[in-house]
């Protein structure tokens, strides 16, 4: 790799994914990378939160305590968002959309805590996009039946089907690339600021963190879940 010339100004600009541990499976070399580690940390935080929330809800009191209040706030907010977009189909998908929202939000924000955001790895966002894609098409076949799907493919004219098919395949790609590129651009920008400016970057990068990690991350989370919900309710029809 000839990265030396482009980055010769600074050896400490670092936003790449690093391999930690290598092993072989079915003759393929596979790496455990920093993405896996950050992913596990994010998942652990969500797990712990869920266990605590479960305990708090089981011992729910009439006048909610502090933690129960937070849990109710989060669940209510997610429920309202889902009901607002999907209407009566909402409750069936509240689980998936809710956990998707929490996972992507925490992943994007994890840049604040010094982790490399897991969503800045295309492997993670493509997986999320493919899960959404599967859900969309499963519901399409379930609710519109095969005849409806074929009718939808041949929408204006029958020979338009290949173009409609490309449009369907583009959905997970554009969903995942949007999230990936947004988070990656934030990560690269922060790495450049910290790597190139040295001691000048002391306090004011906090403002950049607020924009790139919090604002951009929250917007992209909202957009990903919103688009998934829109596509699913499109697939279900009415």
């Amino acid at each position: 790799m000839g990265t030396g010339i482009l980055l010769s100004a600074s050896a400490d600009v670092d936003f790449m994914i690093h391999g930690i541990f290598q092993y072989e499976i079915f003759g393929q070399k596979v790496w455990i990378t920093t993405t896996h580690v950050c992913l596990l940390i994010v998942m652990g935080i969500i797990m712990i939160f869920c266990l605590l929330a479960n305990r708090a809800v089981k011992r729910a009191t009439e006048v909610p305590g502090a933690f129960q209040n937070v849990v109710e706030l989060i669940v209510e907010m997610l429920d309202n968002m889902i009901k607002g977009v999907m209407g009566k189909n909402g409750p069936a998908f509240a689980n998936y959309i809710g956990i998707l929202f929490m996972f992507i939000l925490l992943s994007n924000i994890s840049g604040l805590f010094g982790l490399r955001p897991p969503t800045a790895d295309y492997g993670v966002t493509l997986a999320l996009g493919l899960i959404s894609f599967t859900l969309i098409h499963f519901n399409k076949f379930k609710h519109q039946k095969v005849s409806g799907v074929i009718k939808g493919l041949c929408d204006p004219w029958p020979f338009w089907a290949p173009i409609n098919m490309i449009g369907d395949i583009a959905v997970p790609i554009s969903l995942s690339l949007r999230l990936f590129a947004n988070v990656l651009s934030g990560t690269v920008m922060m790495a450049l600021v910290y790597g190139l400016l040295g001691w000048i970057a002391t306090v004011w990068p906090a403002a950049l963190h607020v924009y790139f990690d919090l604002f951009s991350g929250a917007i992209q989370t909202y957009v990903f879940t919103m688009l998934t919900m829109t596509y699913i309710s499109d697939a279900i029809g009415d």
Partner: protein, 84 residues
Amino acid sequence: MEFNENFILGCSAIGAGLALIAGIGPGVGQGIAAGHAAAAVGRNPGAKSEITSTMLLGQAVAETTGLYGLLIGMILLFVQPLVP
């Protein structure tokens, strides 16, 4: 004709810079969307939250083309597919 690696890297950097011209389009588009949203809030202040969420969604979708340009730039700079 043979080119050395530094020449190809320099051209890749120029190409990455040119790819980011794609950022102009989303900028103009997002500005138009934000302007119309502001006008809509002025006409109907009661629907502010709905208008804001619609605007953000539309802007994020419009942003995608710019992000594709960014990805091309990143790939040219850091993956370096043109270097033999």
